[in-house]
Amino acid sequence: MTREKRLSQLTPYLFLILPLIIYLIWVIGPMFYTFYLSLTNWDGVSTPDFIGLRNYQRLFKDPVFYISLKNNLKWILSFITIPVVAGLALAMALNRSIPGAKAFKASFYSPLVLSLVVCGLIWGWMYQPANGLINATLRAVGLGALARGWLSDKNLVMWAIIAVGIWRQVGYVMVLYLAGLQGVDPGLIDASKVDGCSGWLTFRHVIFPLLTPVTVIVVVISIIDSLRAFDLVSVMTRGGPYNSSSVLANFMYIQAFNNYKMGYGAAISVVLFLISLVFIFIYLWRVLQTEMEY
């Protein structure tokens, strides 16, 4: 019995050994190496010199770091509001038998099929000031005064890029909520209607609370996606004009690969990683709490 028990205790490790080794070598190893690099002045080709916390000291004095951080925050705030509300509204609207519901759903999640790079290219062209669709339309309907250099105005550029992110995100959130609604017992809704609840009250007091787990996930995913934002900025502006659309991931990339400050780039990633970690903790804490049946 004891031998058998010991064997069964070994079982999970047998399942884990191969994936874990690969993961440790290719992801966790380089990750620790990155932590180490953040304490050096590595330029990518020379031998790294240990310089202690100098990169971090420099980072906290770097105005671009704060611009990027602020932009990531804008991104987070937009992502946890607009797509969530719009996605939920769409899910509510489409979660019934209306003509062409399937086509509607497909239209909204179709942007997800495109890679972010392709999205960036398509929208970059939409935003083009002289011939792009948006300004051309504004001029055609007599609103030429509203035409802007969407990606060249330092006050607009970040929002213009975030709008593209939202365009892609709404369908994703919609699908998540649609799935969540599948789990809502129609009987409950009927019951509340019998009690004389209006549509809004039913939603507010019955459906929305039932969707809380979905909302939590949506919010966490949105925050993490916002922190990892990279491709759209990289394709559309490379952080310009003069860093006004820089986000942390791009800031890191430019320092590491354009300016060849690998050590500094590593320090930026570590900070970004630590910020993400806060949200992972919150999320995991929630998930594991609901899994108490262990």
Partner: protein, 453 residues
């Protein structure tokens, strides 16, 4: 952490062993002619032999040279491929494994290439400071013997030789270069009775006339920033002279020097404030902004000669260029003429083949081809300039009459300084009044960047 070390090492060893048995299968899978390289590793590979029989009937043993290039624009790319073809024709027993990487990405990948255990043998790169960095780190091979053997010490102008040398040894082959100038629409100039300006006052007058007639005087697209650096290069060289400019690039002069401030406040800012540039330049890449010139909405464009690659051929008759106007006649004339070339990686695997290839690339035949077909200027003095177009002759004369030739802002200074500097130019463009603050920040960066060197 310690717990992980042993399994990690063990797994690495196993994987390395597994890997060692793998490469052949990988290359075989790829259905491209170039897989001929397989022959070196796997002597009896029937399928490949068939292919070889078709192409080169007699040859049994082929050696190869790996060549990675950043010439990804359509016209240079074709010329590049053609050069490789010419070389393979001349040396049928050497196969060139040629890869083209998108220009921007090449600049990022090069540090991986150079430090890989199997780097590409021959690579394209920028002459000057950017090559110097890698030479100092012993990542580029000394090819003085090639220079000697090919007689380049005599057939290359001293300036290009100096550009390729460190400590009396040659590491680089400058192969082609181009000039910068103010391109303009001759027909629009004629229409308003304008002459190509030679002095700053004339230039301002031309701008004013064009503007009055509803033509944007100057096209520029600053989305990718570097086009604004050209304006800085030229204004700074014209106002303060090329020597000061280069010292600034090398970190020996400071950005908060009043001489630098003058460039912005007295010369550049008025151009912006008077509306001489097209509207909203930051929204366009340089080639998108070129459309304004093609459509006749703008009349001038400070740009490198690659502009003509993108200009519609049928309309090129209306296109001409003039030297960036002289501001202070007492100051020596400096011009930007970026030079591209080739080097061999220090730990190249196919040294002899690489030397043969690079000798070909720097030789008369290849350069002649590049000059004739792409309109770039050759570095090798033996190239016959008799067949040059009028444009090429004019460009050559422009550079030859200069007192000093610079590379370009982002090639002459360090990448980090260039990054911060070009952001500063863009910020200045939006807020010309903030220039003192901007320069103070550039100066802070300069001190940081060059203190480390």
């Amino acid at each position: 952490m310690k717990k992980f070390v042993f399994p990690l090492l063990a797994a690495m060893t196993i994987l390395a062993l597994v890997a060692a048995c793998q490469p052949e299968t990988v290359t075989v899978e790829v259905p491209v002619e170039r897989t001929v390289e397989v022959q070196v590793e796997v002597p009896v590979e029937r399928t490949v032999e068939v292919e070889v029989e078709v192409e080169v009937p007699v040859e049994v043993e082929k050696s190869l040279v790996i060549y990675n290039s950043y010439m990804s624009d359509p016209a240079p790319r074709e010329a590049d491929a053609e050069q490789v073809r010419m070389f393979e024709e001349m040396y049928p027993n050497i196969d060139v494994v040629h890869s083209t990487v998108a220009h921007e990405d090449f600049k990022q990948a090069i540090r991986a290439y150079l430090t890989a255990s199997t780097p590409p043998d021959v690579m394209t790169w920028f002459a000057g400071n950017r090559a110097r960095f890698f030479i100092d780190k012993d990542l580029i091979m000394d090819i003085s013997d090639v220079w000697e053997r090919e007689g380049w010490n005599e057939t290359y102008p001293a300036g290009f030789r100096a550009m390729s040398s460190v400590g009396g040894k040659q590491y680089f082959v400058p192969a082609s270069w181009y000039w910068w100038a103010v391109y303009y629409r001759a027909d629009i100039f004629d229409q308003y009775g304008l002459e190509p300006p030679e002095t700053w006052a004339d230039f301002l007058q031309v701008c004013e006339t064009l503007k009055e007639n509803g033509v944007a005087p100057i096209a520029i697209g600053t989305k990718y920033r570097w086009t604004s650096a050209a304006w800085f290069d030229y204004l700074n060289m014209r106002v303060n002279g090329p020597e000061f400019h280069i010292d600034l690039m090398l970190g020996k002069e400071s950005y908060d020097d009043p001489r630098v401030l003058t460039v912005f406040s007295d010369y550049w800012a008025p151009l912006i404030e008077n509306g001489y540039f097209i509207e909203d330049p930051a929204a366009y890449s340089w080639s998108e902004a070129l459309q304004f010139l093609i459509n006749g909405e703008a009349a001038m464009y400070l740009m490198g000669d690659f502009l003509r690659d993108s200009y519609p051929d049928e309309e090129e008759a209306n296109l001409d260029f003039f030297r960036f106007p002289i501001i202070d006649p007492a100051v020596p004339v400096g011009e930007d003429a970026p030079t591209d070339g080739y080097f061999i990686a220090a730990n190249a695997q196919h040294v002899e083949e690489a030397k043969q290839f690079i000798a070909f690339l720097g030789g008369v035949e290849a350069q002649q081809y590049f000059a004739d077909n792409l309109g770039r200027l050759p570095t090798n003095m033996e190239v016959d300039t008799g067949g040059f177009t009028d444009m090429q002759k004019k460009g050559l004369a422009l550079i030859q009459s200069a007192d000093f030739v610079a590379q370009f802002y982002d090639r002459d200074t360090t990448p980090e300084m260039a990054d911060v500097g070009m952001n500063g130019f863009m910020e200045f463009w939006d807020n010309p009044g903030d220039i003192a603050d901007i320069l103070a920040r550039l100066e802070a960066t300069r001190q940081e960047v060059f203190a480390e060197e």
